[in-house]
Structures are given as structure tokens and as C-alpha cells.
Symmetry: C2
Subunit: 631 residues, 2 copies
């Protein structure tokens, strides 16, 4: 029971691993074990850290994790404390890197535990690959075994009947994944794996691959790895883009913007997921247009841009913001995520003479509100179209005459000696950010105020805004931390804006109620040496729920934890690698965060338990509850 | 952040609640809120402790938990730290009480998190009811809302399409539950809830009920509660039993046993699930027959019975045991659970002239191996048949001539000063049990030796033998603890065998790898004051997996925890209610367990971290791995 040794060097230095995939590993066509194929493919798709939990049906596959060549190229197993946490971590890894996030589990017990994490990735368009080790193929191929009830597999309802050996596949197929394959023939296994990864990249949605335990050691040709060494979003989109459709959509967009007086750009979720932050900023800067982000598009834009107007969320962002939106005659909505949370319970509203263009990965829609006219270009994708537009924009044809925008100068005061509140956090937290920091915020009351906070430059914001599964952020932070190590500073669009020697911080904001759900992953932070800063909001229970119903009911209470002792108990036995404190007053918090902010070393985990009033919620959550109330 | 106060009184005394359901609550036909109906129904089905996690879609339902009459009759909310743990706890509650175990979660995020727990209950025939609070009915009834993407609900794969508001229902229906209802009409809501509960009791399998958040406050008639105040296994089986089929099956069984020279009784899983331990023991004692239990039937029999022969598990229980089984000309297999684990990878073997009768809840099969003849009585159930047989058995017609059974006297020695091993545990642990204790064992290496340990009398053994989801036992112990408080000593078949003033202990054996999966539920032990004794096997990782593959691979390692500090950090801040120690040597463990064994108070939680060698497994696990190896 010796404590994990965090060596300072591995904490402080940038990862030695490169940003480029390991194509060229396979150079001569030959047969290789499918297990090796799987991990070489994953590595080439950008998944260096692989998350999950072992089980007898995936062990032979996991053996191939230790191939020297692959390890040398950065492949690493990150064992999580349970499978749900593994899925959350893979989700976080993909959200940060925009590459594949992979979780490996075992039949039934593991995969079903992970399911909610995958469903969340599905709901929020994250590229998670869930690989499941399943029982040997003889249970499906061989009559003698078909009727056997295998461990981890639910039997048929009628115990006299044979079980359905693919029952879990049937559950998830077409429901929480865009692509899935239950491998049943080693000859097609490599192709089918590749196809699932292609689909994941194309749709930015999770995929499932079920691998029989006996397949890991079987031989397959490595020819796909030579022909298509890399499968990632760029290669996939390049392979299916339709030049003609791109031109049609692009030209029409250019036409509409040339005809517009006051266009507005909405930057939404899929801008992030399809790696378009750079291109969209370029467009905004060149065209010099008003721009807003939706809640799910937070951190995709440059908030220092003079025409950045902030968050739009329909009825919830107030009348002044609505008036501004109404004054636009053209809305370019990039990467929309249409759901009740992101769209203020479907209260988005536009000028009745406005035109709207919605651009996403598989459709571009042109909507003319006045003419009640909508046309779509289905074969076009917004990645190609945006590039086309950037290449072909003729600035001389732009003639905008924007009305003045009312400057909202909401500065809310707080007293240094007072207890911390959600209101004071709104002032304190933005000052704590450095350019380039990565912020991950748990579902809970604090989260709802974040989209209105001004961010430092080149930050990346990660949160589950729509699916809202509490406990997700804590293990996701493990994944993000691994992503930041595997691909340092890769979230920064313009490297010049963040000092060269600055190592971005990973900052996690957690509610106490959410944290208890997945708290054991603190142990993985220590085990895998993930430096970060953690703010735990201790408001003594489920405040979001208290605000909705039963403010004093026992169902909204939680068990008390000694938050500042957790990292110690979860592996840092000598308290060498964490500093954990409790703060109650505004000035305590400000001083602490200033100290953290100026610390240059990424040598440990800093945790603050922040005491908050039980019934205190940010004003944005209140607005949302009012807006969302059914009438 | 004040620590939970455990008051000694509530810890020590038997629960004031009675063992009888609360029928008679509703006496006059009237309309009551559906939320009230739900909890009165649950209480009447025996579910006093209700497990789960709140969410906005179930909050209005949860409000009805606090109805004074219901609370007075023992209804209590047990909030778990996450939903998977809630499902495990409900499973444990039902395994202990044999009544309904109920878990309540919220749409998507909560229900999918709980799914693996329900699947485990399904695989092992446990009466779990999963209630899910779902979005308001307007999302299914009203065209305007149907296309809306609601939080917690996964959108359609094609984001242009409306979501399937019942997608989660479609996933679980007919796969991990024997009955399910997505309520869509308040007029049928009460009937449909009742039907699911009837099905659960009839099949001893989980059921699902999806309740729209707006239904809780809607009015329904309480007439079902008056007409059928109680729905439980007894009433349900009574209502569907077929007198004729019972007589046919019962008479045939009697005939066969009268014709037998050396009959054997196998007591299996469903004997426990259908509450037949008492009746089966009566039969065994009266007929004076050889009796064995299967692995999943452990603790159903009286192991002091002179004709108790121990565990039968096919090839894994060895040649001598097989010879004994082979010498039987009639096998009465009560409540069979046919799966590879329980049946030693389908290696059960019988005399080629033997007859076999398999009896379960929905079928009785008569098999004559010699004649290659099998006939079934489908309408009969073994509950009614066993009662019939007990009532009609004519002892004078029995004439058995059993061959002598070789007494296997395996005493394995260990040295007091040596380190603890799985082998020494085999000697030490059985001595630690008192009559009437409740033992819950986690999936892991230790578990596989338990069925061969001699139990004290009137013990109840709880473990997940077949589905084998690690981490299940820890939250299940919370459920068991609640069950023991709600229904004290209810597992004891013959109360006279356990001293009147003895309060049975709850003993939990946990592996370190499994414990990390669900460790936060330690906080609920403290919060809900569940006295127990915990043995944590610290063998530094996933030993079962190491025995199968990759003994030194990183995927079989886990993060180290400070086991003896966990209860402190999880709520017992002043260490008043737990004693946690580490033991390494046999004599340390023996002394500790002797102290625990003789302690009369159930006033706290005792935890021992037991150090074990990394690669040490019980001999039974080894036998199983050899037997289960595919050839
Ligand atoms: C897995 C899951 N279970 C339940 C919920 C319902 N839920 C939403 S917010 C919340 C409370 C979160 O509490 P905490 O993290 O303490 O944040 P607070 O609102 O108190 O700031 C709950 C229970 C959920 N969203 N996800
Ligand atoms: C939810 C789940 N995940 C993974 C597995 C695969 N598995 C079976 S036993 C085991 C190791 C258990 O380790 P521990 O609790 O320490 O017991 P040990 O075998 O070391 O005694 C694992 C990972 C499983 N059965 N269930």
C-alpha cells in the first residue's frame, strides 16, 4: 500500500508526445493480430490515452496496449475507477482534443455502466468510441453454446429460452450512437472498425464496436493502415465533401451577406466539435460582423473582438439583447444545437424580414422568414463551405450599417468581508482566468451563470449544457487532463496570444452534490498525475433541485464529505501533491485565487472547498426556471 | 458542514416498524393524487425504504414521500450518492426482504446510470421496481412540443428529426425487465402500475414504470388499494395458482419419490427468491433426503441437517461429490438457475438411469434420462406444488437405501504468525459467523470460496454469483441494512434457533478493486446509520483478472486508497461511529474477528483492511478457471 509517487518532472514538463498521428507505423502489407490493428488505428485517429476498466472479455485485447511501437508513440492505458467514469473521461478527452475519445469496457456489467456517459456524448455530439469485449464467438456460431447463459449476459425473460447474445447491441444501436458493429467475422473486422470511426468523425457522435474476446489474437491484414493511415475529422470530411454543393452553398451565403445591412453570426456547439473556431474567427474578423455565441458555443469566439456581443439565449438573455438580434437582417448560425436549453426553451426570435442561414456538418439551410421560404443544400457541409467563403469573400462588396448597440455595463458589487455568493462569484471568477486556460464546469447552479462571464483569451470551456448529467465533469476532467498532456496547448487557436512558456491550467468547478456521484476519480487524478485547480461549491446539497421543488426536503440533502481530505485519502497519503483549503469569505477566495493564478508550476492539485448559501442560485438559473415553466 | 449525528438509540433498537404491510390505509373510495397512490402501493408491497436520486422530472412525485400516514407506516427516502448505487441498494433490499426493492431516478441521466444495476437484478431474479420521472406529457401529446429536444433526452441521430420521447423505454422493454409501462393516460396509470408490480412478484424479475412529471399531482381513484390492498408474492401466486396443475405435478413428484431409492434435493436460487426456504427445509427434514445447494442456492438450506452434503457445481466440486450425485436415482432440483457459473460451465452430470424433476415458478419438468423422456406441467408453480407435497407426503411410502457418503475432512492448517491468505481465510472466516448473521460478499476472488464455507445456522447469504458486476455489493449492503431495519430478523426461518436478544450482524466482504467502483456509498452507511462489519481485501488490484491475464499489467492495477480513513472522510468526521484498522497476520485477524463476534452492540461500523498477497486466489476460483477454459 505504498502511495503513488508523483515525480515533479512528469508534472511540470510538456508531454514529449507529438501532435501528429503515427501513420507510417505499418509500411509493408502483412497480417497482424487484430488487437494490434485496433490500437494502431486508435492512435492514428488521435486517441493516445485509452480509458476503461478490464474484464475477462477484454483482457486479450488490452494486452496489445503494450506494444513497444505504440507505447513509444504515446499510447497509454488510463484505468478509471469504474466504467461510467471511463466514458465520461473519454468524452472529456474528445471534447478537449476534438479527436477520438475511446473507452473500453467488458460485456454487460461494464458497458451498461458506461452507457449514460455515452448517451451524454451522443446528446452533445462528442466523438466517443465505446469498445466492448464480448463473449467468445462460439456462443454465436456454435449451436451447442448458443443456449448457454454466459456470465455478464442477461438471460431471456423466459428462462427456458436461449439468451440473445447481442442484446446490448440491440439496445444501443441507432439510439445512442451514429454507428455500431458487433464483429462476427474476423475477415471484415478491420473494415467494420474503420467504418465506425469514419462515421464518428463524419457525424461527431459516438460509435460502438463489440469485439469477441477471441478476436484479439486473430490475424487481419494491415492494408487499411497503409492505405488510410489516418482517419480523423479532416481526412473524413475531405473524402466526402462535394465541391459542387460547397460552391452552391458558399456562393449563396456570400450573396446574402453582400445584400445584408446588419448580419449577425451565431457561433454554436458544432463550431467547436468540427474544429472550426479558427476559420470562423477569421471570417468574423475579415467581414467585421456582429457575433454572439449560444450557451453551447461558449469559448468558440474571441470575446475581445470589438463586434462580439456576448451570449444569446432567446427570452433568457433579456430584451436589450433581443432588440439587438431583431435589428439584424441576416443571421448566420454556425453549428446549431437545437434544444430547449441552448435555445432558451425555443424562444429564439428574429426580425420578420430577416434571412437565416443555418450551417452544420450535413446540411446548409437558407431560410427567408418574410418569403416563408426555406431551401437546403444537403450535400454541403459547413467545414468546406466556411473555407470556401473565407477563400472567396470579397470585402469590397460588404456594406453594413449597424445600429449602435447599447452597452450593458452590469457591474455587481460585493463586499470583501461578506460570505461568498453566486453573485460575488460572477465578479471574482472571471478575474481568476489566464489566457489559454481550460475550464470545465459541472452541471449545477453555478454552471448557468458561466456563459455570461467574460473569458480570458484562447480559453476552452467544457461543460455538459444540455444532457446535464451531474458527476460528468469530474471524470471528464481526467480525460481533459490527459488530452492536455497528449496534445499540449492544442486548444489555442492563435498561439501568439498566450505566452510561450505559459502552461495552461486545467480548472474544474464542481458542485458538492454532483461531485459525490463520481468522487472516486479523484484517485485517478493522483494516480495519473493530473495537475489542476478544483473549486468545490459546498452549498450543502442539491441546490438546483431545491430551487425547483422541496427546498428543505430530505431528498435534496446529501451526505457530508470532508472535501479537503479527499485527495489525501484517495492516494496522496503524504499530502505532497495537493493543497486543499476551505474558504468562506470573498476576500479569502480572491486572495487564494490570485495566488493560484500567479503560480507558474503545474506541480500539484489545488482544491478549494467554497462555502455557499444553501438556497443561493445565479440570476441566469432563475431566469431559466421562469422561462421554462410550462404554462 | 456538521457531521451526521448517529444516535445510539436508533442504532441499537429494533425498528419500531412492523412486518405487516399497511393495508387499510385507504378505506373509502375516493380520488387521491397519483403520487400518493404510488407510495401507498409501494408500502403495501413491502417497499418501506425507497432508494434513488432526485431530478426535476421526479421531484413532484418525491413530494408524496412525506405524507404523514405513509411515513408513520415506515416509508422512508434513502438518497444514494448516484443512481447505479441506488439500483444496487434496491436490489440488496429486495434480496434481503424478498419484497419489492424500489429505485427512483430521473429521465435519461439517472435511469441509464442505474441500468446496469437493474440488468443485474434481472439476471439474478430480483424484484426491483425502477420508477423513472420523465418529461411532461405535453411532449408526447402536443404536436408543438413533440419536436423539441428536452434536456436529459437524446436527440434523434438526424438532428432535423424530432426525438423519440420513449427511446429509453424502447431500450429496456423486454430486455432487462419482465414488465414495463410508460404511463400516458392518468386514467389507466394506477392499473398499469399495479400490473407491473404483479408481474414483478409473479416472475421475481425487475419492472419499469415511467411516470410523466405532471402525473404526480393528478387524481386517480384509490379503489385498487381497497380491492387489492396488498400486492406481494404470496397474494400474486395465490391468485394465479392452478389447483389442478398443482395436484398433477405434486402427485407425480410424490410417486417418483416413493419409487426412488436414493433421491437428492438440489436447492437453487429461486428457492430463496420465492421464499421457499422454510417449506423446502420442512420437506427435506420430513422425507429425510440427501440435500445439496448450488452456488446460487447457498444459505437456503440448514447446513446442520445430517443429510446436507454441501455444494454441487458439476466438474468444479470434484470427483467424490460427482460420485455421490451419480449414486442418486432421483434429483429434485428446486428453483434452478441455469447458467455457466452456477452449473460449472454446464457440467452437471447425473446417473444415466436417474429421473430429474426441475421445479420453478412457471414450469415443472419431469425428465426420465433413461427413457429420454421429458414432460412438463406448465401451469404449475413450485410454491404451490411444494406446499401440496408437504401436505400430502406419506412417509410410510418412502424407502431409501442411501450408499454411505465419503466424509471429506479437509482441514487446512495455517500458521498464526503468517500473513493472511485466501487459504487461511477459508478456516478463519467460518468461525467468525454467528447464527442468524447476514453475509454479503462482493464479486471477486474471495467470493468463489464462500459456497464451500460452512455457515452458521439461519444465515442469509447475498452475492451476485452470475451477473458478477463488481461494486454491486457495497451499495447493496446499504439496501440490506435498510431491509434488516425495516424487517428485523425476517430472514430467519426458525426464530428459535437464534437467541431472542441477538441482533443479527450485517457483514460485508469487499475487494479493493470492486470497492473503488462504488465507494461513495460509505457516506450513506454513515448518513443512514447502518451498523455493519466490513472486511476489505487489499490485494492491490484486480486479482481475479490477474489470474486470467496480465498478472503484472497496469490495467490490473488500481489507485491506492487509505481504506481505514474513508468512513471518517465520508461523514464520520469525529470517528465516533467507526473503528477502522489494518491487519496483516492471521492471529491479528482472528483476534479482531473474535472481538467483533462477541460484541453485542450494533452501534457502529467496524472496518478491517485485510492485506492479502497480490496473486493469491482461492482454490475454487482456480478450479473454475480450469473448468471454464474453452478448448
Ligand atoms: C445523473 C443525474 N442525476 C440527477 C440529476 C438531477 N440534478 C440536476 S442538478 C442536481 C443537483 C446538483 O447539485 P450540486 O452539484 O450540489 O450543485 P448545486 O445545484 O447545489 O449548485 C441534480 C440532482 C442529474 N441532472 N443528473
Ligand atoms: C462492473 C464490472 N467491471 C469489470 C468487471 C471485471 N472484473 C471482474 S472481477 C474484477 C476484479 C475485482 O477486483 P477486486 O475487487 O480487488 O477483487 P480481487 O479479485 O482482487 O480479489 C474485475 C475488474 C466486472 N465484473 N464488473
Amino acid at each position: 500500500m505504498s502511495p503513488v509517487q508523483l515525480d515533479e518532472k512528469s508534472l511540470r514538463t510538456k508531454s514529449p508526445r507529438s501532435d501528429s498521428p503515427v501513420h507510417g507505423q505499418s509500411t509493408v502489407v502483412k497480417n497482424i493480430p487484430f488487437g494490434h490493428y485496433v490500437f494502431e488505428r486508435l492512435l492514428n485517429s488521435g486517441a493516445k490515452s485509452i480509458f476503461g476498466v478490464p474484464g475477462d472479455f477484454n483482457l486479450p485485447l488490452l494486452e496489445y496496449l503494450y506494444d513497444e511501437d505504440l507505447v513509444a508513440n504515446g499510447l497509454q492505458w488510463i484505468g478509471t475507477c469504474n466504467e461510467l467514469n471511463g466514458a465520461y473521461a473519454a468524452d472529456g478527452y474528445s471534447r478537449y482534443t476534438n479527436k477520438l475519445g475511446c473507452v473500453i469496457t467488458t460485456y454487460g456489467v461494464g458497458e451498461l455502466s458506461a452507457l449514460n456517459g455515452v448517451a451524454g456524448a451522443f446528446a452533445e455530439d462528442v466523438k466517443v468510441l465505446h469498445i466492448i469485449g464480448v463473449s467468445p464467438s462460439r456462443f454465436r456460431e456454435n449451436e451447442q453454446f448458443r443456449s448457454h447463459n454466459v456470465h455478464h449476459l442477461v438471460p431471456a425473460i423466459d428462462s427456458q429460452q436461449p439468451p440473445n447474445h447481442q442484446v446490448y447491441f440491440d439496445m444501443v444501436k441507432d439510439r445512442v450512437c451514429c454507428s455500431s458493429a458487433f464483429l462476427d467475422d474476423i475477415n471484415t473486422a478491420a473494415d467494420r472498425l474503420d467504418q465506425v470511426i469514419v462515421d464518428i468523425c463524419k457525424n461527431s457522435k459516438p460509435g460502438y464496436v463489440f469485439i469477441p474476446v477471441d478476436f484479439a489474437d486473430k490475424l487481419v491484414s494491415n492494408k487499411n493502415l497503409i492505405q488510410n493511415p489516418i482517419i480523423d475529422m479532416d481526412t473524413v470530411i475531405e473524402s466526402y465533401k462535394d465541391e459542387n454543393a460547397t460552391k452552391i452553398a458558399g456562393d449563396r451565403l456570400l450573396q446574402w451577406i453582400y445584400e445584408s445591412n446588419a448580419p449577425s453570426v451565431f457561433s454554436d456547439l458544432l463550431v467547436d466539435r468540427f474544429n472550426l473556431r479558427k476559420e470562423l474567427r477569421q471570417f468574423i474578423e475579415t467581414a467585421d460582423v456582429w457575433n454572439y455565441n449560444t450557451a453551447m458555443g461558449k469559448s468558440t469566439l474571441d470575446e475581445r473582438n470589438p463586434k462580439y456581443l456576448g451570449l444569446y439565449k432567446g427570452a433568457e438573455t433579456g430584451k436589450e439583447m433581443q432588440a439587438t438580434v431583431d435589428s439584424s437582417d441576416l443571421i448566420l448560425h454556425f453549428g446549431p444545437a437545437k434544444n430547449e436549453i441552448n435555445c432558451g426553451y425555443y424562444s429564439f426570435h428574429f426580425n420578420e424580414n430577416a434571412r437565416i442561414i443555418e450551417l452544420s456538418n450535413n446540411i446548409i439551410q437558407f431560410i427567408d422568414i418574410k418569403d416563408k421560404n426555406a431551401s437546403t443544400v444537403e450535400e454541403a457541409n459547413f467545414v468546406s463551405v466556411l473555407k470556401y467563403v473565407n477563400d472567396n469573400l470579397d470585402k469590397s462588396k460588404l456594406s453594413f450599417s449597424y445600429p449602435p448597440v447599447p452597452k450593458s455595463n452590469h457591474s455587481c458589487e460585493y463586499d470583501n468581508n461578506d460570505s461568498i455568493t453566486q453573485k460575488s462569484l460572477k465578479e471574482i471568477i472571471p478575474n481568476y482566468f489566464n489566457d489559454g486556460d481550460v475550464l470545465i464546469v459541472e452541471t449545477g447552479s453555478f454552471q448557468f451563470g458561466v456563459p455570461n462571464m467574460q473569458f480570458a483569451r484562447e480559453m476552452k470551456y467544457i461543460t455538459q449544457s444540455f444532457y446535464l448529467s451531474i458527476g460528468m465533469a469530474l471524470p471528464a476532467a481526467l480525460g481533459v487532463g490527459c488530452g492536455m498532456r497528449d496534445y499540449p496547448r492544442s486548444h489555442i487557436v492563435d498561439q501568439a496570444l498566450v505566452p510561450k512558456d505559459y502552461i495552461p491550467r486545467l480548472i474544474l468547478c464542481e458542485g458538492d452534490g454532483a461531485a459525490q456521484m463520481t468522487i472516486q476519480e479523484f484517485a485517478s487524478y493522483i494516480r495519473y498525475k493530473i495537475p489542476m485547480e478544483i473549486l468545490v461549491w459546498n452549498n450543502n446539497g442539491y441546490t438546483v433541485e431545491r430551487a425547483i421543488n422541496g427546498p428543505t426536503r430530505s431528498y435534496n440533502d446529501i451526505a457530508p464529505f470532508k472535501w479537503t481530505a479527499l485527495l489525501n485519502v484517495f492516494g496522496d497519503f503524504e499530502n505532497k501533491f495537493n493543497e486543499s483549503v476551505t474558504v468562506e469569505k470573498n476576500d479569502e477566495l480572491v486572495q487564494l485565487l490570485n495566488k493560484w493564478k500567479s503560480c507558474k508550476e503545474r506541480a500539484n492539485i489545488k482544491l478549494a472547498e467554497v462555502m455557499l448559501p444553501v438556497m443561493d442560485i445565479p440570476q441566469e438559473l432563475n431566469a431559466m426556471l421562469v422561462n421554462g415553466k410550462p404554462n
